[in-house]
């Protein structure tokens, strides 16, 4: 037992009531920490345990064991991290870990796992929570994926990959001496770990480690895994983007909520420059970290936000149970410099004295439709518009002092469904509106008609008009409304026969706004717009010689008002009203309604799902801009003698 380092840490001054003798029996079976380091061996102890004890110095078994993984630090000896901030939670057991070998907990992962198991057994904890920043965040994610699928993880600026190939591809050369050693080390026999060969090293969370092991079972709610990263640190953002691919775990056993939020990536508007990587420190100094940890631990206690699939197993949390189970102590005060900026006024947002509301199992905003074996989210346009109205101004997903990051406007179920659709399915469904008055009041584009209560009737009218157009004699369509006929009148054609692929169809196209626009005005605007956009000025696409600006509705209108001629996909040749009565109104109204209501709503949904600032997408899609348009297509039926066309595929068709 002499080789067991770290034993003396138990009775440190930080934990007056700790009693190392009680842990001795528990930890006796542990083997010494193996050696793995490019430099001479370290003799540092790599763990420190603080148990929650009652007034009689008896260990209070159960509750939460918080494991804090330290990063590399700035010195030869990594310091334990999260010590000061975790003092806010005296009712939790705490285990502090560090890898003195500076090897991201990889070679000695089994040893660290054994420490955690021993500490868990000693504390009797029922829930594991891992915190870590940078290499500590990596360690937390790695250990959770490999050994503790039930553990909840909050990682700050973690690495997602350490393997040489991905690092080269992502141009990440940070901590090169240590990471290179980890990649190429042939320290045979140096490690007491039979999987410590390079080939067996888990150095990539996406490829080497299957986070699927963390997927929930009916008996166990899914873990809560959050990755906080700094938007302003390019490489950290890349790592987070890498992890974002792991966000969702489809569940085929749950029809109503088929996805599990496996990893939640939370962007922060953090510092720039040399301090950009130190996101946890930045959040701590601005009083945000404590609120993130509060919310995280509160979520762990009541299973809130632990994953969409877990909600069915969540029991309602009452005031009494919340108070008795939450490890937060409002009387705890920060005593070291790390927590001097705690803003107590924000405690009300996470005040446990408030009656905790049970997680909503489902939201009427979204349900799922089985489309040939794929569960596809279906959003309700009405409810989506209403929910997006409550969005605060500014960057809702970027944490600030006044608005912590975990406050999206849409419920988790909707965000999860949207991300699932974006990353897994490739499309989603949108249920039409049913209340015209509500939409008209809430819509941002009152000049455009909303969908009426008889949306089906409007759609049916479009279908009828399309059929009527298709039934018109081919010669008349070619002579009157085609591109050639339009050019003769200085306009663009509305009708065409689509036959770009193997399928031909009868097609008509109309713009949302049918007014002329000058190409010269577009070019002029491009120049001015490029210099106006902040993002453009910071862009590194210097090789792009083509302007990235297209005309908006304002340009179109301005061009029309100025009387300058020339159309850019705007002036279409419509059939005369006496030939096809109602044709123009039906199609134009449909296009305007979609562009004015459904379009902004869907873009708002995508902004929320992608953690983008409000209006980031919709501001680039003004309703009725030059490039938005409606195309109708009528494919003729397959006649009995025309079997050759059946089954053929068209590429540029819908």
């Amino acid at each position: 037992m002499a080789s067991w380092v770290g034993y003396d840490e138990i009775s440190s001054t930080d934990m007056e009531n700790s009693n190392g003798d009680q842990l001795d029996d528990v930890l006796l079976d542990l083997s010494p920490r193996p050696y793995w380091r490019p430099e001479p061996a370290s003799t540092h102890s790599d763990w420190r345990l603080i148990l929650h004890r009652d007034t009689e110095e008896q260990v209070v078994t159960g509750g939460i064991l918080v494991v804090a993984f330290a990063g590399l630090g700035n010195s030869d000896k990594p310091a334990y991290e999260f010590e000061s901030v975790l003092k806010r939670y005296p009712q939790t057991h705490k285990l502090f870990l560090r890898d003195s070998n500076l090897q991201w907990y990889v070679p000695n992962r089994k040893w660290f796992a054994s420490v955690i198991r021993a500490a868990s057994a000693a504390s009797g904890a029922t829930k594991l929570v891992f915190f870590g920043a940078s290499a500590g965040g990596w360690g937390a994610l790695l250990l959770q994926a490999l050994f503790f699928p039930e553990a909840h993880v909050a990682a700050f600026s973690p690495q997602a990959f350490l393997d040489a190939a991905t690092r080269v591809n992502e141009e990440d050369d940070r901590w090169a001496p240590y990471v290179n050693h980890l990649n190429k080390c042939s320290c045979s026999g140096a490690v007491n770990d039979d999987e410590s060969t390079v080939a067996g090293m888990p150095l990539n969370l996406l490829h080497d480690v299957s986070l699927a092991v963390a997927a929930p079972s009916p008996q166990r709610p899914p873990p809560r895994v959050e990755v906080h990263y700094n938007l302003n640190h390019y490489l950290d953002a890349r790592h987070a983007t890498y992890l974002r691919r792991l966000e969702f775990e489809p569940r085929k056993d749950c029809e109503s909520m088929p996805t599990v939020l496996r990893v939640r990536c939370v962007p922060h508007d953090g510092p720039v420059g040399d301090e950009a990587h130190a996101l946890a420190k930045h959040l701590r100094n601005h009083g945000v970290l404590v609120h993130i940890l509060d919310a995280f631990l509160l979520g762990v206690v009541d299973n809130r936000r632990c994953g969409i699939g877990s909600l069915a197993t969540t029991l309602p949390i009452t005031k009494s149970t919340a108070e008795s189970t939450l490890p937060h102590s409002s009387s705890a005060t920060a005593t070291d410099s790390g927590d001097t900026n705690v803003d107590n006024s924000m405690d009300s947002k996470y005040d446990i004295s408030q009656e905790a509301t049970p997680c909503a199992e489902e939201t009427p905003l979204v349900d799922y439709e089985d489309v040939n074996g794929i569960l596809v989210p279906r959003f309700d346009l009405d409810l989506l518009c209403a929910a997006l109205q409550s969005r605060p101004s500014g960057d809702v997903a970027i944490s600030t002092r006044d608005e912590p990051c975990l406050r999206p406007a849409l419920p988790d179920a909707a965000l999860s469904a949207a991300r699932y659709a974006l990353s897994e399915v490739g499309f989603f469904l949108l249920r039409p509106s049913s209340d015209e008055s509500e939409l008209s009041e809430s819509g941002d584009h009152a000049n455009f008609p909303s969908f009426s209560p008889a949306t089906e009737q409007r759609v049916a009218e479009c279908y009828a008009q399309c059929a009527a157009m298709a039934a018109m004699p081919l010669a008349q369509k070619q002579d009157s409304w085609s591109l050639e006929a339009a050019r003769a009148r200085g306009l663009l054609g509305g009708w065409r026969r689509g036959e770009t692929d193997l399928i031909y169809c009868d097609s008509f196209r109309c713009a949302v706004e049918d007014v002329p626009v000058s190409l010269d005005s577009v070019k002029d605007r491009n120049k001015s717009k490029s210099s106006e956009k902040g993002l453009d000025s910071s862009a590194t696409n210097t090789n792009e010689s083509v302007p990235n600006v297209a005309p908006s509705a304002a340009d179109v209108t301005a061009a029309a008002m100025s009387g300058r001629g020339g159309c850019l996909g705007k002036c279409h040749l419509w059939p005369e009203p006496h030939v096809l009565p109602g044709f123009r109104d039906a199609l134009h109204g449909y296009a305007q309604a979609l562009s004015g209501d459904a379009g902004p709503a869907v873009l708002g949904l995508l902004e929320e799902a992608l953690c983008l600032p409000r209006d980031y997408l919709s501001s680039k899609c003004s309703p009725g801009n030059a490039l938005s348009y409606l195309t109708t297509r009528v494919y003729p039926p397959a006649s009995p003698g025309d079997d050759s066309a059946a089954g053929t595929l068209g590429m540029r068709m819908q």
Partner: protein
């Protein structure tokens, strides 16, 4: 003999789709993406197919699924994602690959396709990585957007 019978039955069953053009199109039609940001689709008959990429990172092959008519989806629109969204997110959100299969339907198939386009696009924010990683550049997008807007009619 049994194998011959099976093949014969399959040929008889699917003779109407086993034309040369069908075979070629099935092999070579990889679908396409829309230039715009998002597209609202409403159609009265099946035929649209969407490529599902789910699980490809774990080795699963992409596969096509066919969408039923809007009536079968409660009158809902199908919303797919275009190149502009892929560029803005640096392909974190890939554009939806889709195609249309002509089915032997007794009636015509009508689709209402509403393209919501962006006025302009900019390089993606840092969270999505450096510009240029998307499969289509800003210049490519602009050229195609203008072409679709004004020339292809």
């Amino acid at each position: 003999m049994f194998l011959f019978s099976v093949v014969a039955c399959l040929l008889y069953e699917y003779a109407h789709v086993l034309t040369l053009s069908n075979i070629l199109s099935n092999f070579f039609s990889t679908g396409s993406t829309d230039t715009e940001m998002i597209t609202f689709l409403h159609f009265d008959s099946p035929g649209l197919e969407v490529l599902i990429n789910r699980g490809h990172e774990h080795g699963d092959s992409p596969y096509w699924i066919q969408l039923p008519a809007a009536q079968a989806l409660g009158g809902s629109w199908a919303v797919i994602f275009g190149d502009a969204l892929a560029i803005l997110t640096n392909s974190a959100i890939p554009a939806t690959v889709h195609r249309v299969r002509r089915l032997p339907l007794p009636k015509s198939r009508t689709s209402l396709v509403m393209f919501i386009a962006s006025d302009y696009i900019v390089p993606p924010p840092a969270a999505f990585g450096p510009p240029g990683r998307s499969t289509k550049s800003l210049g490519d997008w602009w050229e195609r957007a203008v072409a679709v807007s004004g020339a292809v009619l």
